[in-house]
């Protein structure tokens, strides 16, 4: 199994552990991640308004890189997944737009024909790899561990662009938790928005939203949280203390990246999973699992 690998910006800076651990579990599961030669930032929520032509061109360039290798694209960030899915869909449906973008890209000898699928690691694990193959690699199922799933809004909505899970009743992340041997904990904010995109100019809003969901998950009895998005991770883990301060809560909920949780179940340790980098220490979880 081979995929073109698109890490996005955050795993190459703030959440470097996500990149490292993704590669590790990919190796363990015999998924080959093919590095692309310098794909650009997906442009997130901002570029499409700031400079739509450049936005389409850069993302088409990324898709073309994967297409040239004859591979589908693997993402590890919710927003990257959404943006690339939306661009891909637009280019596949609108022939005129595709031509226009290809005209621009021809200047750098790049062309995209619309033949790539964009898939998040979570989806690939559940469908391309499949629960059986994953379970075979799990040495230490996370029995007794109550894990709150935080999807991150952009892996669920809008459903036309993404089309994997039902945004009103998602199950994928919870299925994933079960495959790892853990017990998913339901809470109202599991599919809500952490507000990360507003952080640089509207920090209190993002912190308040984050705090609300952390509190809900904690109240629902979760021991920890897992998220498939490094941006949500940055809020939930990095700003957990700020969130407590803002809304007056006292939540202490360690947060894991998607591959970290799987790695834990596969038998990887604290150092391998780079858990030292968490702002909210995961030591208690390791102790609970007898993995110290």
């Amino acid at each position: 199994m081979k995929f073109a690998y698109y890490p996005g910006c955050s795993p190459q800076s703030t959440t470097r552990e996500l990149d490292v651990v993704t590669r590790k579990i990919a190796k363990a599961l015999e998924i080959e991640l093919v590095n692309l030669n310098g794909p650009a930032c997906c442009g997130s929520v901002e570029m499409r308004v700031n400079d739509p032509d450049l936005f389409y061109a850069l993302n088409a360039r990324t898709l073309a890189m994967a297409e040239r290798q004859g591979l589908d694209l693997l993402t590890i960030c919710d927003t990257c997944q959404l943006v690339l899915s939306q661009v891909n869909r637009s280019l596949q449906k609108d022939g005129e737009l595709l031509d226009k973008i290809n005209q621009t890209l021809s200047e750098v000898q790049v062309k995209y024909s619309g033949g790539v699928k964009v898939k998040h690691l979570l989806w690939i694990l559940l469908t391309d790899v499949g629960p059986e193959r994953i379970k075979r690699k799990i040495k230490f199922p996370l029995t007794g561990l109550k894990v709150a799933p935080f999807y991150g809004c952009h892996i669920l909505r809008p459903k036309e662009a993404l089309g994997f899970d039902d945004p009103d009743d998602p199950k994928s992340l919870e299925d994933f938790i079960r495959i790892c041997g853990g017990e998913p904990v339901d809470f109202p904010g599991k599919m809500e928005c952490c507000g990360f995109h507003n952080l640089p100019y509207d920090p209190m809003l993002a912190v308040t939203l984050t705090g609300k969901y952390l509190q809900e998950a904690s109240k629902a009895g979760a021991h920890c949280m897992v998220t498939p998005c490094p941006l949500c991770f940055t809020m939930l883990d990095g700003y957990q203390k700020e969130a407590n301060k803002k809304i007056g809560s006292q939540v202490n909920l360690p947060v894991f990246h998607l591959p970290q949780l799987l790695g834990l179940a596969m038998g990887m340790g604290k150092d391998e999973l780079m858990l030292k980098r968490n702002m909210v220490s995961a030591d208690e979880i390791l102790r609970k699992l007898g993995r110290v």
């Binding site: 901002e46 809500e192 968490n278």
Partner: protein, 304 residues
């Protein structure tokens, strides 16, 4: 399916201390809607049940309720085997499923939801080219049902100054109408559109399928960046600058450039903690083939 079970929220503020849920069993009819369930209960089981409806076909926008936790139009939503039916959230309850939407309607009224034009048409009927109205057409379908505002997480925490998607749709509907010549951006600012977190919850909930993010929020953002020297504008432009400079966006660099001095100062402790955990790249990576990006940018610039 022979029967459906509906657990319905009941509350009379004039007599009850608190709300309760009543469970009803209703015979199922092919194609049944939640409205049909409510009407059956009101006609045959409990004539005191209060709920709103009128047109029965997603035009009047008055039958909004929560069905299994999601805001839906009762007249359109399919009846399921088991349903929990509750009033829309965050609004004062009049009785049972009837809420007072005045708060939301006043927000709409505050952004002047009517055509403002200083220059009158040269002749009537005016020549109106359909092509000029493509942006505003989808917004015309809004029935002000407030499903979007009910599901919006920012509205959900009652964030001060944020009016919610419904208000912004009504604003954009005039802003994008070629006949309207009032500058609607100050009102957009007052309506708190900057607090939209782009989570698409509103898009997912809209019963008439308005692409609120694409058709409303992004259109306002575009005008906002062009006009206002605001924090949001600065943030958006900085993102673009970083992409064009390095191909990637380094969060630290972004924060550093966008935050005001005060903000940076107040975040210093946090910054240090992040740094100690290795989460801050002071400089940020650059992709290897920036010349490609620059070429692409140049080509696009020439085309314009």
């Amino acid at each position: 399916m022979e029967k459906v079970t509906a657990r319905v929220f009941r509350y009379d503020p004039s007599t009850d201390d608190t709300h309760r849920y009543e469970t009803y069993e209703v015979p199922f009819e092919k194609g049944m809607r939640v409205l049909g369930v409510l009407m059956y209960i009101q006609e045959n089981v409990d004539t005191s049940l209060a709920f709103r409806y009128s047109c029965r076909r997603k035009r009047c926008g008055s039958c909004g309720v929560l069905v299994n936790g999601k805001p839906r139009l009762a007249c359109m939503e399919e009846a399921k085997a088991e349903m929990v039916i509750e009033p829309l959230p965050n609004l004062p309850i009049v009785r049972d499923l009837v809420v007072e939407t005045n708060e939301y309607e006043e927000r709409i009224e505050s952004i002047r939801p009517y055509l403002v034009r200083k220059k009158q048409p040269q002749r009537e009927p005016e020549k109106l080219l359909p092509g000029n109205f493509t942006a505003v057409r989808p917004l015309n379908q809004c029935i002000e049902c407030f499903s979007c505002t009910s599901v919006c997480p920012v509205n959900g925490i009652q964030w001060e100054g944020f009016s919610g998607p419904a208000t912004l749709i009504q604003l954009a509907r005039r802003m994008l109408d070629p006949r309207d010549d009032m500058d609607r951006i100050p009102d957009a600012g007052k309506a708190g559109f900057e607090h939209c977190v782009s989570c698409y919850a509103c898009v997912n909930a809209c019963p008439v399928e308005i692409g609120i993010l694409d058709e409303v929020i992004e259109k306002i953002r575009k005008k906002y960046i062009e006009k206002e020297a605001s924090l949001y504008g600065k943030y958006n432009r900085t993102w673009g600058d970083l992409v064009v400079k390095n191909g990637l966006v380094n969060p630290f660099t972004l924060m550093r450039r966008v935050s005001t001095f005060d903000q940076l100062l107040s975040n210093i402790l946090m910054g240090i903690k992040f740094f100690l955990k290795g989460r801050i790249s002071l400089k940020g990576k650059k992709i290897p083939n920036m010349d490609e990006i620059r070429t692409i940018q140049k080509v696009i610039g020439e085309k314009r």
